[in-house]
Amino acid sequence: MSHTFAMKNPFVVDELRVADGPSVPITKILIADDNNTDRLLLKAILCQQGHEVFVAKDGHEAIEVFREMQPDLVLLDVLMPNVDGFEAAEKIRQLAGEAFIPIIFLTSLQSTDALVRCLDAGGDDFLPKPYNSVVLKAKLDAFIRMGEMHRTMQRQRDLIAIHNERLLREQEIAKRVFDKVAHSGCLNADNIRYLLSPIAIFNGDVALAGVSPAGNLMVLLGDFTGHGLDAAIGAMPLAQTFYSMLEKGFSLQDILREINEKLYDVLPVDVFCCAIVADIDFSNGVMQIWNGGLPDGVLYRSFDGKSIPLTSQHIPFGIRNTAHFDDSVATFEVQPDDRLFLWSDGIQEATNNQSEMFGEERLLKIFEKNTDPEQLFDEVNEAVAEFISDEAVSDDVSIVEVKIVAPIDFHADRPDFIGSNPAGPRDWSLKYELRPQTLSNFDPLPMLLYVLRQVPYLRNFGGQIFTVLTELYTNALEHGVLQLNSSLKNSTAGFDHYYQLREQRLLHLQDGTIGIQLDYKGTGNGGRLKVTIEDSGEGFDYKNLENGLSGDVPYAGRGINLMRSICHSIEYLGSGNVVCASFVWGDS
């Protein structure tokens, strides 16, 4: 309702039409004169000109008639019995308040002193007796036009005030919703710091952070075109897509594609969202970055103090349809105490009072000079704040820092698992075989997670089980089907090579399968879940593993220790191409 009202603005348009239009509305005029002849003569002239005329015989009566009839214009004789013209003028001014009521004195006095006194008493003009009807008409018409203009301005001013108040109220409500949606998730985790400073009530910047069921931290910093409500409107579908897909266990690529499609569908052509998205796997020390249209982020490496730029390689979200969307990511090796910095263009474009921009160079200098990485976040913010002059914040200044920590030190709320049936399915198994065309571009894990979620127990422990499932599936795919050797990842160059190979081999995959079997049996007070994953690869010599000789080449990257800490048992079978993990709880 209110939106229709605000957008149509019907009143303002009508007002303008009245002011500019040809038809002169009827004007109500009060004449106060104790001289009967003069009064009647004036009344006759004015009636003839089409005005509505009221008359009074003295100042006292003039005030009474004014109060009752609210005329638009007042003609006062200066010399009248009881209350004279000057006094009546003063009183009428009071009654009129802020309304514009021209008061014109009727006088046969000629002296300058007398005329000055008329004006001092609040008169707008004077009309000499005897009346000249041409002069009279010209003066009245001029005042009537002024009165109309004045009223139009006042009504518009009042309307603007009402609209403005309404807009602020609406924005306040929208802002409360926006804040819940746009700056939510686990942004308050111990290892994340962020700052979003708005230049209006709304800014176009959005920061989101959440944990996937497998325990990865996903962070998104987005900057919508423009400022204010138009910029904030896309934040809703963005945040919703991000969180709901993250919670369901979808991969970074799936989430990127879906966000792009959503924004492409809902946003107008000229509104889009520059964004940088990071997917951090603390357990394996792998970070994936997708940057579409934001300035270089920085990965600050703790071991050598180097800053690795995270450069934009894509068109922002919401510009191209799915067929043209590029979801390829850059992969980086990360270690505890490394730091990830994401910012919108507000920092580089922050402008001082000499119209200079802060720029990338100044930003990188801060990193070069820094001696204590813990201070980097504050140093950047202080430098920008010092640089800009107060009145010239030219964009939204937003910055997010994520410190890489060991998995055990990462504390953030994981999404709750919500199942609909309290008892859940009791006794079932599922077998799922993925063939090459599926393996190359489909992630089966969200679907499996969905099945697992139906079991009530997994509402609490689903995250851990999902971590194991992800780990086992990744091993089957990368080491089994794609024949990638995890020892490659021991050097930084090899690390990049590993992920390039992975992409290439997936793209050209002709042979290979992965079979996944989930077997669940629940009792009233416990349950058992068996996950068996079999790949078509050559397997590996797992006998050494059983003898405790782990740490050597083939299974170094398999995250086995992590999984052992979670599962009841983990067992390799066949040539090492089959792995079986069991989870047991309660009295089973």
Binding site: G226, D270, V271, F272, C274, S312, H314, D345
Partner: protein
């Protein structure tokens, strides 16, 4: 800041010149510049010689032009960009959408 435009004699090519800051304040004049000659125009040249700066709403305006000129089949060349403007196009990877020279 102002926008001017000129149509080639055969009416096939429209050149739009940007002067000063290319931002939201020129939104309607930029739009007028490409809408007035109508749909007969085959290709567009946006000349940035005199442009000092562009912001994200200018990128949005260019997307509107691209949409008007036929989306993926649009022929739009952006010429004479200064280094700052080139950088903005590079970050947003707009060279995938426009011919930037």
């Amino acid at each position: 800041m102002s926008i001017s435009s000129s149509l080639s004699t055969d009416g096939q090519e429209l050149q739009i010149n940007i002067e000063g800051r290319f931002d939201f304040n020129v939104h309607s004049s930029f739009r007028r510049a490409y809408e007035e000659p109508g749909n007969e125009v085959g290709s567009y040249i946006v000349d940035m010689t005199a442009a000092s700066y562009l912001d994200s709403s200018a990128l949005g305006m260019l997307l509107l032009l691209r949409d008007y000129a036929g989306g993926d089949s649009a022929s739009i060349t952006i010429v004479h960009c200064n280094d700052d403007i080139k950088k903005i196009f590079a970050i947003s990877n707009f060279e995938q959408l426009f011919d930037i020279k």
